[in-house]
Amino acid sequence: MLPFILRRTLATIPVMAVVALFVFSLLYIAPGDPAALIAGDQATPADIERIRQSLGLDRPFLFRFGEWTWNILRGDLGTSIFTSLPVTRLIAQRVEPTLSLMAVTLLLAIAVAVPMGVLAAWTAGSWVDRTVMALAVLGFSVPIFVIGYLLAYVFALELEILPVQGYAPVADGLWPWLRHLLLPALSLGLIYIALIARVTRATMLEVLTQDYITTARAKGQNERKILFVHALKNAAVPIVTVIGLGIALLIGGAVVTESVFVIPGLGRLTVDAILRRDYPVIQGVVLVFSLTYVLVNLAVDLVYVLVDPRIRY
C-alpha cells in the first residue's frame, strides 16, 4: 500500500509541471499585447513598458518560466497588478468560502445522490425510478443561475428560512456558516447530484444482476444489507470515479455560484481578475484549482484500493 501511495504521489509531479506550463503560457496565448491591454486606452508607451517589465514579457520565455516556477516553489505567486498585493495573500483571504462551498456541496451531493441512485436501481422500472431519473434530467438541464435565483426566491424571500446571500466564516459558528452555504451548495450541487445518481443507478443495476447478489439472497440476507453492503461496495469504483471527475464541474460552477450568492471566494476573485486582466492573479487561481483537482484524483485512486481488494498496484 505504502509504495503505491508513494508512486502515485510522485506521478502527480509531471502532471503539475504540465499544468504549470499551461498556466504560465496563458500570458503568451492571450491575443494581443497583454501589457497594452492591461494598461488601458489612456496609457503612455512608458506605462506599457513598465507593465511589460513587471510581467517579465521583455525577457525570454523559458528564462521567465524557470524564474516563475522557482518562485512558486518558494511559495511566491507574484504580485497582483491591480491591487499590488501578493497573490498568495489574495488567495488565502478568499480560499475559505470556496473550499467550504465545495466541501458542503460534495457531501450534500453524495448524501443525496447515492441513496437516490440505489433506490432507483432497486425499484428499476417503477414510478420511483422514473421520478428519480426525471429529476436527474432536470438537474442536468437547468443552469446554476436559474436554479440559484429560484431557490433564493422560495427559501429566502418567500419562506424566509435561509439567508438570501453572503457568507459567514466558520469562526462565527457552525450553524450560521452552514445556513449561508445551504442554498449555494444546493444550486451548485444539482448537476452533480444528477450525475452521481445516474451513474449509481446504472452501476447498481449491473451489480444487482450478479451471481453474488443471488448468493447473498440465498443466505437469507435482507434487502437493505444486500443493497448497501453487498452491492454498493461493488458499485463503488465507477461512483467514486465520477465523484472525482465531477470536481471539475464544481470548480467551474463555483465561479458562477459565488456571483449569484455574493460569496467572497476564489470564484469572485477569478472573475474580477479576468475582467481586469490581472494575469498574476489569474495564474495563481488557476494553479490552485488545478492542484485541487489533481489532489482529488489522487484521493480517488487511493479510495479505489480501499473499496476493491482486487486493485493492487
Binding site: P3, L6, R7, G125, Q210, D211, Y212, T214, T215, A216, R217, A218, K219, G220, Q221, N222, V229, H230, K233, N234, A236, V307, D308, P309, R310
Partner: protein, 605 residues
C-alpha cells in the same frame, strides 16, 4: 413422521414475463426428496431445471415471475409465507450453491465475512463466536490453513477452493436441504471429483437432503439416488437413478443417455467414432456409419518442435520482471492430414496457449512450427497473416466469437474476401453452400447471431473456418460449452468434415470422454509440458504418467453401479506454472512404451 419428505414439490409452474406476455417455463413439475436423499434434476439448457431450483428458494425475480403449484418444506407450504419468514428459511433450512464459483462470491468482501454473515443471521452468534465457527467450517471443507485465510478475499482462491467456501457458507446453519445448481460444471475434472466427494461426505455427516441440478449424466450417476429428467419445462421421466440408466423409458432420456460420452466406451477400437443419434421425440436410434481411416501417410502437415511460450510477471515499485509463467514449455508433436491430435489437461496447463502460439496469436518465446514444411515462427507479420488461411481456429464460446452486429452470411464470407479467395459476390454465394455443409439452411445467411442457439452458432463458426479451405483446424474447447446432445451432433459434424476434406484437427479439450471419441492421438499436458503422448488407444488403455492416471480416474462415469463404491480423491490443487526469473526447466527424458507412445520420465516435482 419419518416418511414425510423434506421437500415436496407439487404441480409446480413458473411463468416469466417478457414483452409479449407471460411465458410458462416450468410446466406442472412434481417431485419429492426424502431425508438424506439426493435427487438430481437433469436437463439441457432451457429445460427449466435452474428455474425450478430458484423457485424452491423463491429467488426468481419477483416482478417478472409467477410461481404456481405447491412447495412444501417438512410439510409446510413455502409459497404462502411472507418474505420475512422466507428469509429465515433461506440459508437456514435450505441452502444453495451455484455453478460459477468465480462469480458467486462477492469480490469485495472477505470470505470470512461472507460465511459469518449466515451464522450471525440464522444462529444469532456474536461476531467473535462466528469467527471461530467460520474457521471450523473452512477446516471442514478442507481449506488449507483455514484460520489464516479468514480475512482473504475471493480472488485469492482458485475455482475449486471458492466452491469449497460456497459449501462452507451453505453448511453454516446445518440446513435440511442443500440445493446445488451445477456446482461442479465450471471446475476441472480432478477438482470436480473432489467437490462431489466432499458433498457426499458432508451429506452423510450432516444428514442433509440434496437437490442436485446438472446437465451431466456422469455426475448424476455418481451422486444421485433418484433423478428427474426435464425437457422444455416438463418432467418427462422420474425414478431411481439405476433404473433410469438401465432402462430409460422416454425417448428424450434415451437420446440424452446415448449422447453422453462414456469414458472407456472406445476400448478395443483404434480410430475415432461418431455418436449414435436417437430421435428425441419418437425414439428410434440410428447407428452411425463406421469411421474410415483418414490419416494420410505423407509428411505431417504440422510439425511443432520444442515450442516454448513464457509470459513475464511484473511487480514492485519499478515494474521489474519478478517471475515468468511457463505457459508452454518444450512442446513437440506433429500432425498428419486427416488426423486428430487432442491436447488434454486442466485449466492453466498451457493447452490453449499452445494452440494460440502455433497460429502466432501469441508469439512463442522459442521453438519451431512447420506448416506444410514451412517455418512459421520467423515469418514477417504480413506473411504470417496469409498462412493463417491454412490454419483456422474455432473457439470455445460461440456467443463471444461471432460479431453480434454482423449478419452471419457476412461473417462467413469475410475470411474468404480478406484472403482474396473470392469476390464479395462469390463469397456470399459460397457462404450459403457452407451453411448447408454444416447442417444449416442457406437462407439463414441474412440473420444475426442472437437468433441462433449455441450449437447453431458453433456450426456457423465451423462454416466460417471452412470457407478459406484450411488444412488444419485448431479447435479450442469447441464443444465444451454445448449441451450433451448438441455436443454429440457437432462432434459428428467435425468427423464428417474430416472424412470428406481430410482436415487435420488439433483438438484442445479438458473433456476426456469426448477426446476418447474423436482422437487418433492424444497428448496430455501438465504445467506447460507434454507428459504423455501417443495413440489414443494406448494412452487411454495403458496410461503411464501419474498425472494421466489421475486425470482419467477423476472423470465421472455414467454408471450408477459405481456410485456407492467410495473413491479416494486426493485434495491436491492444480499447481501453478509461475516460476522465478532464473528458473531453468530441467532436461526432460521421454520413455518409449510402445510405438509412438512416449511418457515423460517422472521427476519428483
Amino acid at each position: 413422521m419419518s416418511d414425510m419428505p423434506v421437500l415436496a414439490v407439487k404441480n409446480l409452474t413458473v411463468d416469466f414475463r417478457s414483452n409479449s406476455g407471460w411465458t410458462r417455463v416450468v410446466k406442472d413439475v412434481s417431485f419429492t426428496i426424502g431425508r438424506q436423499e439426493t435427487l438430481a434434476v437433469v436437463g439441457e439448457s432451457g429445460s427449466g431445471k435452474s428455474v425450478t431450483a430458484l423457485s424452491v428458494m423463491r429467488l426468481a425475480p419477483k416482478r417478472s415471475s409467477r410461481i404456481g403449484g405447491e412447495i412444501l418444506l417438512d410439510g409446510e407450504s413455502l409459497l404462502a409465507r411472507p418474505e420475512r419468514q422466507m428469509r429465515q428459511i433461506r440459508g437456514g433450512d435450505v441452502a444453495m450453491i451455484f455453478q460459477e464459483p468465480m462469480t458467486s462470491l462477492n469480490p469485495v468482501l472477505s470470505i470470512g465475512f461472507q460465511i459469518a454473515e449466515a451464522l450471525i443471521l440464522h444462529r444469532g452468534l456474536a461476531r467473535r463466536a462466528a469467527e471461530a465457527e467460520v474457521v471450523r467450517l473452512l477446516d471442514k471443507v478442507r481449506i488449507p490453513s483455514a484460520a489464516s485465510r479468514f480475512h482473504d478475499y475471493p480472488h485469492r482462491f482458485s475455482g475449486g477452493m471458492r466452491q469449497r467456501v460456497m459449501i462452507a457458507m451453505a453448511l453454516a446453519c446445518q440446513p435440511k436441504l442443500l440445493i446445488a445448481d451445477e456446482p461442479t460444471t465450471a471446475l476441472d475434472v480432478t477438482i470436480q471429483a473432489q467437490i462431489l466427494e466432499l458433498i457426499k461426505e458432508l451429506q452423510r455427516d450432516e444428514h442433509m437432503s440434496v437437490l442436485f441440478i446438472t446437465h451431466d449424466m456422469g455426475v448424476v450417476a455418481e451422486i444421485a439416488d433418484r433423478m428427474v429428467v426435464m425437457k422444455t419445462g416438463h418432467a418427462v421421466e422420474e425414478g431411481p437413478t439405476e433404473a433410469i440408466f438401465a432402462c430409460p423409458k422416454h425417448p428424450y432420456t434415451r437420446s440424452l443417455l446415448s449422447a453422453v460420452p462414456r469414458l472407456g466406451s472406445m476400448t478395443g477400437t483404434q480410430g475415432p467414432a461418431r455418436f449414435r443419434s436417437v430421435d428425441r421425440d419418437t425414439g428410434p436410434a440410428t447407428d452411425p456409419a463406421p469411421f474410415p481411416e483418414t490419416v494420410a501417410a505423407e509428411r505431417p502437415i504440422l510439425e511443432v518442435k520444442a515450442l516454448t511460450t513464457r509470459f513475464d510477471v511484473r511487480g514492485g515499485l519499478l515494474s521489474r520482471v519478478t517471475g515468468r509463467v511457463h505457459a508452454v514449455e518444450n512442446v513437440s508433436f506433429d500432425l498428419r492430414p486427416g488426423e486428430t491430435l487432442s491436447l488434454v489437461g486442466e485449466s492453466g496447463c498451457g493447452k490453449s496457449t499452445t494452440g494460440r502460439s502455433i497460429l502466432r496469436l501469441t508469439n512463442p518465446t522459442s521453438g519451431s512450427v512447420l506448416l506444410d514444411g514451412e517455418e512459421l515462427t520467423q515469418l514477417p507479420r504480413r506473411a504470417m497473416r496469409a498462412r493463417r488461411q491454412k490454419m483456422q481456429m474455432i473457439f470455445q464460446d460461440p456467443f463471444a466469437s461471432l460479431d453480434p452486429r454482423m449478419k452471419i452470411g457476412a461473417a462467413i464470407a469475410e475470411p474468404m474476401i480478406v484472403n482474396k479467395l473470392a469476390s464479395p459476390d462469390d463469397a456470399h454465394r459460397r457462404a450459403g453452400d457452407l451453411l448447408v455443409r454444416v447442417g444449416l439452411a442457406p437462407e439463414m445467411a441474412g440473420r444475426y447471431p442472437h437468433e441462433f442457439s449455441g450449437g447453431q452458432r458453433q456450426r456457423i463458426c465451423i462454416a466460417r473456418a471452412l470457407g478459406v479451405r484450411p488444412r488444419v483446424i485448431v479447435a479450442d474447447e469447441s464443444v465444451s460449452a454445448l449441451d450433451v446432445s448438441v455436443k454429440a451432433q457437432v462432434v459428428n459434424l467435425l468427423l464428417d468434415l474430416q472424412q470428406e476434406l481430410g482436415l487435420a484437427y488439433l483438438f484442445i479439450s479438458h473433456d476426456m470422454a469426448v477426446v476418447e471419441r474423436v482422437s487418433h492421438r492424444v497428448a496430455v499436458m501438465y504445467l506447460g509440458e507434454i507428459v504423455e503422448i501417443g495413440p489414443r488407444a494406448a494412452v487411454f488403455g495403458n496410461p503411464q504418467h501419474p498425472y494421466t492416471k489421475r486425470l482419467l480416474a477423476a472423470v465421472p462415469v455414467p454408471d450408477p453401479a459405481r456410485r456407492l463404491a467410495p473413491r479416494t480423491v486426493a485434495d491436491d490443487q492444480i499447481k501453478s506454472p509461475i516460476r522465478g526469473v532464473d528458473y531453468v526447466p530441467p532436461p526432460r527424458v521421454y520413455r518409449k512404451i510402445s510405438p509412438g507412445h512416449l511418457v515423460q520420465a517422472c521427476s519428483d516435482e
